[in-house]
Amino acid sequence: MNPAENMLPAGKGGFWIDTGKTGIASWIFSTDHKRIGLLYFWSVFGFFLVGVLLGLLIRIELMAPGRTIMGPQTYNALFTVHGVVMVFLFIIPGFQGSFGNLVMPIQIGSRDVAFPRLNLFSWWLYIAGAAIILTSLFTGGGPPDTGWTFYLPFSERTGTNVSLAVFGVFIVGFSSILTGVNFVTTIHRLRAEGMTWGRLPLFVWSLYATAWVQILATPILGITLVLIIAERLLGTGLFDPARGGDPLMYQHLFWIYSHPAVYIMILPAMGVVTEIIPVFSRKPIFGYRMIAFSSLAIAAAGSLVWGHHMFTSGMSDTAILVFSFLTFVVAIPSAIKVFNWVSTLYRGSISLEAPMLFALSFILLFSIGGLTGLILGAAATDIHVHDTHFVVGHFHYVIFGGSGFAFFGAMHYWLPKFYGRRYAEKPAILGWGLMFVGFNILYFTMMVLGMEGMPRRYYDYLPEFARLNFVSTMGSWILAVGLAILLVNLFRGLRSGEPVGNNPWGGATLEWSIPTPPPTENFAKEPVVTHGPYDFRGAGIP
C-alpha cells in the first residue's frame, strides 16, 4: 500500500453516511446501486453458507457405505436443496446482483443504473422467491427430492413439495430477467463521456454478455416451471407419452435455459479474473478486443449446446451429432480467454496477493473443468460417464473452482473499496491454500470415482468405492477449514482492519479514481474518460 494512503482517516464514510439515513429501512428501500449490491451480496452469501453446510452433510453421508448420518429420503432432499440453493440462490444472482451492482455503474462513469427502483424491485423479487423456496422445505410433503433439474415424470409424481419450490424459482427468475434488462440498458445509455465500447472494462463486457443470456434464456425456464405446476395440478399430459406428450421435451425446455445458465454463472467470473490479472501483473491486458468478443461468443454459442445433457436420453442421433459439434465450438472462445490471461501474465511483475491467487487458481481449475467438459461433450465418451460422479466433479471444477474462486477473488479485490478497510494478507493466503488443496482432493477424487463407475445421486455404493469416498470427504473438511479461515479474516478485516486508500491495488478502472468508500453519487462531477481501462500510466501503482 502507498504510505500516503495510510494517512487517510480510518472508518466508514461515503455512501455509508452521506445521505444521513441509517437503520434497516435505509437499506431495504434504498435505490443506491451500492446498497443494493451489498444487500445482494449478504443475501447470496448467506445462501452460499447454507449450501456449503448441506454439501458437507452430503459428503459425511457418503464417507462410508450404508447409512452414516441420514436415511435415503433425507439424502435425496439434501442434494436437491443443495443444488437449488447453490444454483438459483447463490451463483446465478451472485455476480450480477452483488459485484455487478457494486462496481459496474462506477466502472462506466455513471451515478447509478438506468432503473434504480427496478433494481431494488429485483432484489425484493429475489428475496420473495427465496422465501417461497425455503417455505417449501417445511410445508406440504416436505423438501423436494427430484434433484435441482426437477425432471419429469418423477417431479410430477413425487409427493414432496415440488410445486411451491418451482414457483419460488419462477419468482427468482423474474428477478434475474429484470437485472438483465437493467444492465443492458445501463451499459447502452449511461456510459460517461469518452467511455466508448472499446474502453469498457472487460468486467462490464462480461456483465453485458451475461445480461443478454438472462433476458433471452430465463423466460424459457419460467415457462418450463409453469408447465411442471400444470402437470402436477391439472394433469395436462404435456410430457406423458400415454397422452400424446413427450418427456424429452421437458429436458429440452429445461436445458435450453439451464445450460446458458452455466454461462450466467461463469461469464462474470471470467470478467473478475480479467480485471484482477492485469492489475496484479502490472501490465495492460493482452488481447482486449478478443476477450470482449469471446464473452459475446461464449454467450451466443453457449446458448446452443443444451442437448449435450441429453446424449443418453433417447434423443435422435442427428441431434447428438449437432449438439456435440456445437459443444466443441464453445471451447474456442473459452480458450481465447485462457490464452489471453496467460499472455498477460507473461513477463509481468506478478504480485501474489489473495485476489491474484484466486484468479490464478481460477485459470487452472476452470481449465480442468473445461477440458473434462469435452469428455462429456463427445457423445462416445459421455455415454460411459453420464450420470456418474465424473459429472459432479466436472461441474464443481467449473462452477466452484471457476465461479466460486472468482467470487472469493472479487470479495478480496473489491469489498475493501466499499468498506474502507482490508483483510490481513497472510491468513488470506493460508485460507486460499487450504481451500485449493481441499478442493482438489474433494472433486478430483469424485472424477476418478466416476471413471470407475460410481453413479451420482445414489445413497449407497459398492465397497470398492469406499476408500476414495473417504478421501473425498476428507478433502471437503480441509476445504471447509480453509474457507472458515478465509472468511473470518476477510470479515474481521472489513470491520476493523487496516484502512485502505482510494487505489490500494493500483488499478486503472474508474472505481479506483473515486474516494474510498465511494460517495452516494459516485462522482463529484461527471467523469470524462480519456484512456483505456488497462492503461496503468499514472494509475498510482504502489
Binding site: H188, R189, L216, L304, G307, M310, A319, V322, F323
Partner: protein, 93 residues
C-alpha cells in the same frame, strides 16, 4: 433519449385484436385436422404471425428506431435457433 410516444388509433387496435381472434380460431382448427407435416409448420406460422402483430402494434415496435428493432431481431433469431435446434431431435428421432 427519445421520449416521444406514438398514439395508435382505436380502429387499428380493434382491427389487430380481431385479426388475433381470427388467428386463434385458425389455430384451433389446425389442431383438430390432420395436415401431415403442415400440422406443425402451420401452427408455428400462425403463432409467429400472432406474435408479430402483438409486437408490431401492441408493443409499438412498428414505430421504434433501429436500435430497438435490432435488439428485437437478435431476440427472435435466438428463439428461432432454440426451436430449430430442437427439431434436429424431433424430426430425426
Amino acid at each position: 433519449m427519445n421520449t416521444t410516444t406514438h398514439v395508435i388509433g382505436y380502429r387499428t387496435l380493434t382491427a389487430v385484436w380481431l385479426g388475433l381472434m381470427a388467428l386463434t380460431a385458425l389455430t384451433v382448427w389446425v389442431s383438430r385436422h390432420s395436415l401431415g407435416i403442415g400440422h406443425v409448420w402451420g401452427s408455428l406460422a400462425i403463432a409467429a404471425l400472432k406474435g408479430g402483430l402483438v409486437i408490431a402494434f401492441f408493443m409499438h415496435m412498428r414505430y421504434e428506431g433501429r436500435l430497438l428493432r435490432g435488439l428485437l431481431f437478435v431476440t427472435l433469431v435466438t428463439l428461432a435457433c432454440f426451436i430449430g435446434l430442437t427439431f434436429f431431435d424431433v424430426l430425426y428421432r
